[in-house]
Symmetry: C2
DNA sequence: CAAATAACTTGACTTAGATCAAGGTCGTTT
DNA sequence: AAACGACCTTGATCTAAGTCAAGTTATTTG
């Protein structure tokens, strides 16, 4: 069983939804009527398929309901860097812009709750609540992009891997207690996808993951499932401040 | 003479200001009266001085009027990564959050137009126009953070340097014509600051800059002034798509 | 269920950039 | 104008991560 993902506080999902920890689109059940009248549709993208390419015309925006998608950028010679990891409740697309700036690709099967862009933009004008949420989401994304920049610019390969594992574990609600051992979660990313996230090669990713295994910090199971055997130790391998949480 | 900086389209500055290309705070001259009633003050920070440290209580938000500031993150062992370069019109601080998430430091002398955070947050609620601008600014920042991630994760040292030079040249309005030669601008950053921006060491920065000089692509003048002798060539050294501009 | 394919591991070797260590320039201070 | 300090350059050496090249293990498909 896959643990339910952590919904970001300012997501579009679950705004008024009674089911607090499942990813159901905003306004699906009740609340602002206008939203209901808008063209809204769910679409499933199979694992590995493109959702949109950089430069394509963007007809919709939306949010991830289930699955994992990624936002990435490609250089002419094929070098690729992931610039966003999209988990349930994350927003896709930029209101007010008609062309995509980045590639979006489904990593696992993805269900997207889509809104036509134009009517969504109109709603954004009309519903202050929605605009506030969008601002909060953008600022949260910006903060995590900036932490990611520290990772890319300054961390060692091992620190990068440890950081990624912890980010994914946390977003999957797998971590109840930071001192807990045997935290389990689905990685859902291939070695190549991880290397694109971390600015490494897939060989380096493989070596570092196996080094963590050899040091008895994690164990690897079938189907890209990870068991963290020593969470505190994994945390200390990230290079991050121990008490990053004191910032309210 | 220093060229006037490029104001981002969605900045708080110059919203209705008749002087289009000087950095004057929003509403300084006219427009929304509420803004005038708010506690607003200008403060000058000398080059090299801290504006705020990560974790400090944030009493104000504001925007850069003149000068260059930087946003950075520090690891316990002293590794530092710049995560934002703040030029005139850029916003500092996060409304709705009481503690700073990153260090902010003046690189050159900086004049900041500051607003007390609480009343600013109230204004943000009341003036839709302002909220829209904040959203636009956040999304622009997010886009540039993501491009920066590609730079940090995948570019070579030479590509990083070329990219930085072009970003700074563009933001200073120094580039009228992309094919133009003899584009001149103030770098305003020490080798160390550049190395923190690019995820390199200062020695590597120095070597790469001198390599560009040796290849007759740039020339270095007194007072950190740079002359680009072959702009097209510099552009081609960034590794970026030639025609990134087709996205409207 | 076997064959095919995709994903992962591991080893040997290379290299871009880091590190360590002097010196050299420039601008400011007395 | 000498002396100081901050900034920059350059060389020699080291090393973390990249590259190339087989193999091995999972997962999917016919």
């Amino acid at each position: 069983m896959i643990s339910p993902p952590v919904l970001k506080p300012a997501s579009l999902n679950c705004i008024d939804c009674p089911i607090k920890h499942r990813a159901v689109c905003a306004y699906c059940e009740k609340s602002e009527m206008a939203m209901l009248e808008m063209m809204k549709s769910y679409k499933t993208y199979p694992a590995g398929s493109p959702i949109i390419f950089a430069g394509d015309r963007m007809k919709f925006v939306g949010s991830v309901v289930t699955g994992v998608a990624r936002l990435s950028q490609t250089m002419e010679d094929g070098r690729r860097q992931m610039v966003g990891l999209l988990l349930p409740s994350d927003f896709v697309g930029r209101p007010g812009r008609s062309y995509a700036a980045f590639d979006v690709e489904a990593t696992t099967d993805v269900i997207l709750c889509r809104f036509e862009r134009k009517p969504f933009e109109k709603l954004l004008k009309d519903i202050p609540h929605l605009r506030e949420r969008m601002l909060e989401m953008a600022l949260d994304e910006l903060d995590s992009a900036r932490e990611w920049m520290l990772l890319l610019g300054r961390k060692t390969a091992r620190e990068k891997i440890a950081s990624l594992l912890i980010i994914i574990a946390r977003r999957q609600n797998a971590v109840q207690d930071e001192t807990h051992t045997d935290v389990q979660f689905d990685l859902s990313l291939t070695r190549e996808a991880m290397s694109e996230y971390l600015g490494l090669t897939l060989e380096t990713v493989s070596r570092q993951i196996n080094a963590l295994k050899k040091d008895n910090i994690i164990a690897l199971e079938k189907k890209r499932r990870v068991v963290v055997k020593d969470f505190a130790r994994l945390l200390s391998e990230t290079g991050d401040d121990e008490d990053g949480g004191f910032l309210v």
